[in-house]
Symmetry: C2
Subunit: 462 residues, 2 copies
Amino acid sequence: MSVKVFLDESEIPRQWYNLAADLPTPLQPPLGPDGKPISPEMLAPVFPMNLVEQEVSQERWIDIPEEVLEILYQWRPSPLYRARALEKALDTPAKIYYKNEGVSPAGSHKPNTAVAQAWYNREFGIKKLTTETGAGQWGSALSFAGALLGIEVQVYMVRISFDQKPFRRMMMETWGGKCYPSPSDRTQTGRAILEKFPDTPGSLGIAISEAIEAAVTDPTGETRYSLGSVLNHVMLHQTIIGLEAKKQLAKIGENKVDVVIGCAGGGSNFAGLSFPFVLDKINGADIRIIPVEPASCPTLTRAPFSYDHGDTAKMTPLLPMHSLGHDFVPPPVHAGGLRYHGMAPLVSQAAQEGLLEPMALDQLESYSAAIKWARTEGFISAPETSHAIAAVIREAEQAKEEGKEKTILFNWSGHGLMDLTGYEAFLSGKLTDHKMSEEELIENIKIMDGLPKPNMDKTGKW
Amino acid sequence: MSVKVFLDESEIPRQWYNLAADLPTPLQPPLGPDGKPISPEMLAPVFPMNLVEQEVSQERWIDIPEEVLEILYQWRPSPLYRARALEKALDTPAKIYYKNEGVSPAGSHKPNTAVAQAWYNREFGIKKLTTETGAGQWGSALSFAGALLGIEVQVYMVRISFDQKPFRRMMMETWGGKCYPSPSDRTQTGRAILEKFPDTPGSLGIAISEAIEAAVTDPTGETRYSLGSVLNHVMLHQTIIGLEAKKQLAKIGENKVDVVIGCAGGGSNFAGLSFPFVLDKINGADIRIIPVEPASCPTLTRAPFSYDHGDTAKMTPLLPMHSLGHDFVPPPVHAGGLRYHGMAPLVSQAAQEGLLEPMALDQLESYSAAIKWARTEGFISAPETSHAIAAVIREAEQAKEEGKEKTILFNWSGHGLMDLTGYEAFLSGKLTDHKMSEEELIENIKIMDGLPKPNMDKTGKW
């Protein structure tokens, strides 16, 4: 009784899918500090122009460079699994399929875009990439890609994680990445903050500012900045996940998926699996597409669709997205990758168009689902991924109640081997939930009061 | 340019290969404290009889139970890779293939036998398994298998590892395993040692004694002990690795392997890959088969072939094996899985018969190889596995010098994501080598002076 479906390397999708080409309402442009759309050229000091072109592209299909594919072959096409043991444990009539993105060397979906970004930068003559990282998932993925493509990688890691979670830093260093605690004395931003707050634990906002500053001030002009989620080109690179899944499902005669599920922080793993199915939905398919976020950081389910900054320090342009406000600091839930105040513009707008059914779930329910998963399917899930599993279990249990067959597909976005302390806290009863109160929500989103609102009248244009 | 070869689940080998059927000289039996061969029945309180039968079997092929296969499908057949990026970096004419055993939920080859052992125990009516673990690799593999098969698992973990390396313990607990620091107050052995040495860091020898005691003294009679290496049935269960590799190589037309390499501690991952090729060699194939051990624990390369105990406390029968003496405590190299004073009897005897070409390598050379590997092939290797990689690089460089094409196959036995502190120590220049001196060797092997010597006259019999 088969549990895995492989694709041969020769069957790998050779183009990425760009949802921007098919959204009913055109995607709104990012805005500069003056409230005016920023031109692609204004991004040139930050990103190489070939990636900026992808960022603004309206092409539906974009070729994946052959050399990128040759590195992706190291773990791609990733296997599609059927979760037969979980189905049996739940005694559900639902069929549960998942993409296993934990097979990549860095253990998650992140290398899909890290490799592509490093390659485009190298093509553009860039020698060094800077980035920020919270718990270290993205910093390690980019360090991996940099090692294989001969690009130097410099990571600004939030100081408290740098001190408390040394293993991701060690991964980065094993791949040759340089990892600095942020704030650092390497940037003006960092030095200014250290002078005022020598004992600050740091934040993602500060780390982003330092990474961008380090890129744009490098006198050689051969350094750029790289971001692991949120942006359009990152979503694009991840669509290989969903495109592979479609081929794999077709191979076993599963031509109708009823529910597609992924956890959503910045949005990239969710987008990667779901966007090819969003296209089906736009074309009339009867399919439910569910991004799952933590109740402690309920961007899609409770936050307004607004223009907002991607970072606390307001270094980034204003992006049209669901946002809890750029000052919001999510509570310290273990799913660090879901602790982001905003949501990718493409995901935000798809939700706004009614193409998605966002769901917010609690940390405890997610860990409980992850334990059930580990003891049936065997794999230990990343805490982010566990949110998707919890939603899958809800759907499967509902199918049982309704006595309805149903085909569920979700993205098992990464393993949790670097995140075991969360499991320990859960098993010893030390974890709590952090549902955002109405007052908190109102307080946080105030910060966007004066900011422009995206235009949804179908005439807006980059 | 393809880098991976998959087998479909339907192509998985359906029988294990038992080298005991083909060794030129029959394998010698274990001996009791009186120096006389022990009967299979004497092992009944420790192992279920169906596994004891496998332990003494002379059958060449043994069927893999269907239910065991169905759990193995969760990650098997494991992919066969061609290490093209490493080949290119080394500029070698050699072709390098490897089995990726890191794809299992526990991250190594260990679950291959953990699942089989848990299944046979369950078939025999056993409800609980006890075992020992050093750094935790085996304890976590057995906990994983227990979770999926509904067997309770109790692990005695060497105290110093229990205190210093909590992540493997958390893995065990995630799968529902119970993990106790050893010595514990749960056994007579443990209590006696704690009374004398309340601050002892523990040892594998003590942990084995506790696990066996806990199994044989359980009044329900429904508990048995499980061992993750050394024994014949463990080697047997691992042969699925080499049997898969043969099918995968045949699939791409690679019908001649020149060199087979695996690291060797207790011997199971090496045996798993190599034994099907040892059979070829017995049948006349021109093939070099290399077990790689650490220079700090040079069992096959420098220790005598003798009868010796498997543990320090002399709880186990005497086994015919290469041994550095049951009192030997290997230096604290990071490759914890290679720190064993003995070597599996089947591997020992194959070496004795001249079928193997053992090699001992230093820790620094191994880490240097692992770094090169991570920065070309992308995956971060377990420190044990790194010894095999170092040997592969030597072979590939020699092929370059000689301008000779050569096909190398090795076992990438596991990932190193739980072992990153070794990488950090290496990268910061804090690691040293620990070559065993001649004096140390002589001192350690004295302990076996009065013990019987195995009979190699081809008449010995279980």
